[in-house]
């Protein structure tokens, strides 16, 4: 019998703690598929900071770091500087990367730190129970913006990919979405390109993945996918924001 499809070797068969309809599982799997296809299973090192994905080490079978909230790019910097030939990636949520860790991601990109950030943007804090994130849409209700995000009080959502793309150290920046199969395939190509950028030692790379958080959005899995398409993508346009030859 010929095997035509199998689970990536470093994707652990563990019951995930993620909620039904959450796209973290898809993103994890894409990372594992890409690392395997690039032949980097033995050289991959992941950093997962505080957030829903802090337990990523239970699912991804590489040497892993758990990191403090927002600090994954700094931890990855230390890891990469010691072992420059390892494939070092962070896996961060939007509260982590765009709020408390804004300084670390900006300066890792500015330094052209040769690491890859996998950035899950679901417009909300997931693990702590659905509070407003810097990426929360104007008008979006959360547990700390119960009347909807009011831009006059708490400003506008941050478009991280556009912001980081302005930095000379950023070599590859793309925003993709995980809402259907064609887009998941695009997301995989983007992750592969980002990791290849690191292997080619071109500098900092990041893929922003628009993701669902049905539980904290108060939506069913299907409604969540619809809302991502109808409301998130207009705020966060998909595409390649930076690609250095």
């Amino acid at each position: 019998m010929t095997t035509v499809f199998e689970k990536p070797k470093r994707f652990i068969s563990e019951k995930m703690h993620y909620c039904p309809g959450c796209t973290h599982g898809t993103a994890h799997r894409l990372v594992a598929e890409v690392i395997e296809e690039l032949g980097m299973n033995d050289r991959a090192v992941g950093v997962a900071p505080v957030g829903c994905s802090v337990f990523a080490y239970n699912y991804l079978d590489y040497d892993m770091y758990q990191a403090a909230h927002g600090r994954a790019p700094a931890v990855a910097t230390g890891a990469k500087r010691v072992h420059p030939d390892n494939l070092v990636f962070t896996y961060q949520g939007d509260g982590d990367l765009a709020s408390i860790g804004a300084a670390e991601i900006v300066h890792a990109a500015a330094r052209g730190e040769n690491i890859t950030a996998i950035f899950i943007n679901n417009a909300i804090y997931g693990m702590t129970g659905g509070q407003m994130a810097p990426t929360t849409l104007v008008g979006q209700s959360t547990t700390t913006s119960p009347y909807g995000r009011d831009a006059s009080l708490c400003g506008h959502p941050i478009r991280v990919s556009e912001m980081l793309a302005t930095l000379d150290g950023a070599a590859y920046i793309e925003r993709v979405s995980l809402h259907d199969v064609p887009n998941i395939n695009k997301a995989k190509r983007a992750i592969k390109k980002a990791f290849q950028t690191q292997i080619d030692k071109k500098g900092f790379s990041m893929v922003e993945l628009l993701s669902t958080c049905g539980t904290n959005w108060g939506k069913s899995p299907i409604e969540a996918i619809e809302w991502l398409k109808s409301d998130m993508i207009p705020q966060y346009p998909l595409g390649v924001y930076k690609e250095v030859d």
Binding site: R10, V45, D63, Y65, A67, A74, V75, T77, G78
Partner: protein
């Protein structure tokens, strides 16, 4: 090797390089700037890495990353910067990562001033970050001792997988003294099989550099295991100096540069017939509690002297445990005590005032 005249901060940096430290992550703050400056010059010469981080917070997390990858790594800062590093230090302690953190203390609270102070005793010795942990904390009293203790601290930190701190003050950092770099006693260090170096899936256990234990029993087990390590450190690594203690009736307890000023005052006191001695903790954690406790049965009175409003004196009182009176004399805010000021305090005690 012959002696060279060096500034304390530079001697600390050179000692780290001589100890095999290949990675340094720092951020500017006075009065420790010569450490990152020296490292930026020297690290490229020895094939090491110097990186100026975007903040103290980032620097300590780079230390977490580099130590987790198996490297000898150091960072340095001064009081407000150490406050910022405390979260990362707590993570490092829990993840059992060896490293050396240098704190060249300035005055505070707040932004304070840049002059010498010992008001960081609490945040250095009493676990300045969150949770149940300890650092091994060395308090050098000279540039030579600073260099010796930096080298020693890398060995000890690697041996126990507990982060070490060099607790200096602005004086140690800024003054120039002759220094000779002597290799420390080599320890039989186990290979870092726990480090995240990239894993082939078979030759060892997968490395998880971690401080997250969501189950109470797991977190409790980690804290208990760490406590066992701390007890070993307290048993094996406590360092102190006893000075003129044989016939002493008054025992001064002081650490760091303050202890040197105390020695001048002790000379004056002895010239005037007052029998004074000194116990100088060299490690302030582990603290030489037993030495002070033993002295309590011999001397009449203790006098703790610090450049603070009274922080280490609490450890003196715990050690003396009410057996003898414990007085305190301190100067703070960047004010350095004078031998005369200390002698006046000794005299008051001798005269029963």
């Amino acid at each position: 090797m012959s002696k060279v005249l060096m500034k304390g901060n530079e001697a600390i940096a050179e000692a780290a390089i001589k100890a095999g430290c290949k990675f340094f992550f720092g951020y500017p703050i006075t009065p420790q700037n010569q450490i990152p400056e020296y490292m930026s010059k020297r690290m490229p010469q020895v094939g090491g890495t110097f990186l100026q981080a975007e903040s103290e917070v980032a620097a300590i997390n780079m230390v977490y990353g580099a130590s987790g990858a198996g490297a000898r790594v150091m960072t340095s800062s001064s009081s407000p910067g150490i406050s910022l590093k405390q979260e990362g230090i707590s993570y490092i302690a829990c993840a059992e990562l060896p490293c050396v953190i240098v704190n060249i203390v300035r005055s505070g609270p707040g932004l304070g001033g840049i002059l010498p102070s010992q008001a960081d005793y609490f945040q250095s010795v009493k676990g300045g970050g969150h949770g149940d942990y300890r650092l091994i904390v060395y308090a050098p009293a000279s540039v030579q001792e600073a260099a010796d203790l930096v080298m020693e601290s890398f060995e000890v930190s690697d041996y126990y997988r507990v982060p070490a701190m060099i607790l200096g003050d602005g004086m140690i950092g800024q003054m120039m003294e002759p220094v000779e770099f002597k290799a420390p006693k080599k320890r039989n260090l186990p290979p870092k099989v726990w480090a995240a170096t990239g894993w082939d899936g078979k030759s060892r256990k997968k490395a998880i550099i971690n401080s997250l234990y969501i189950q109470a029993e797991e977190m409790s087990a980690v804290c208990n295991r760490l406590d066992g390590v701390y007890k070993q450190i307290a048993k094996n690594e406590t360092l102190y100096e006893e000075y003129m203690m044989d016939d002493a009736q008054i025992c001064i307890v002081a650490y760091g540069t303050t202890s040197r000023i105390c020695k001048n005052a002790i000379t004056t006191a002895r010239d005037n017939g007052i029998k004074v001695g000194l116990i100088r903790p060299i490690t302030v954690w582990p603290y030489p509690t037993d030495v002070i406790k033993k002295a309590a049965s011999k001397v009449d009175h203790f006098l703790a002297i610090e450049m603070s409003m009274g922080q280490m004196v609490e450890d003196v009182r715990l050690a003396v445990n009410g057996e003898k009176p414990v007085s305190f004399y301190g100067t703070t805010g960047g004010v350095v005590p004078t031998p005369e000021g200390i002698y006046d305090e000794i005299k008051k005690i001798a005269e029963g005032k």
